[in-house]
Symmetry: C2
Subunit: 134 residues, 2 copies
Amino acid sequence: MLKRLNHVAIAVPDLSAAAAIYRDTLGAKVSAPQSLPEHGVTVVFVELDNTKIELLEPLGEKSPIASFLDKSPSGGIHHVCYEVDDIIAARDHLKEKGARILGDGEPKTGAHGKPVLFLHPKDFNGTLVELEQI
Amino acid sequence: MLKRLNHVAIAVPDLSAAAAIYRDTLGAKVSAPQSLPEHGVTVVFVELDNTKIELLEPLGEKSPIASFLDKSPSGGIHHVCYEVDDIIAARDHLKEKGARILGDGEPKTGAHGKPVLFLHPKDFNGTLVELEQI
């Protein structure tokens, strides 16, 4: 079911400072910041040879990463995103296995314009898992 | 400086249960467990199309992931590992930029038999970063 690791998302309190660390200290290629108001984040993509890191800064009042940064003010790894071929088939398989889908269980349009679902971290060893249909 | 994402490491309290979740619930290819007593972990590799997840269970009295699991008993993402071409050049560049190298600053032989360094999470938005020379 799992194909590629699409990205690792890291929540950060200060996106320009975080982007500078990845660009200048770690010597990686980083994108310009992109505001995604409908997802409550501003994102910078760190482009690696085989995948990417997404640095996420809260945007707006109801950012989905606000509570994470309340608990971890300096930031931290927020989730991992795996690609799947068929997100409905993946969801039905996961439910059959007893895994909990967050929200109403229906795929939403993710930050890359593709259908995504998030899985309950308690069912995956404390790891928030995003699935994205490619 | 950063090349590929070599792996994402997830600390887990029960390796066989975690491997079963990745194999049966998420439908990924998982390796047999490998004990690495010199690194204080037993590891299962989850093979994705472009990188891998390493599930780590503590092994022995002085496991480097024991304190992490004391704080997060159900597990969580422990570190990310990036590949570099020259670990000494990377280290010297990082020190020049003010980033802190864990331990004595000299590369050790990592779990894959290659030279590795760990960087202080406080310098990277709460993310423990491993660098591995490939």
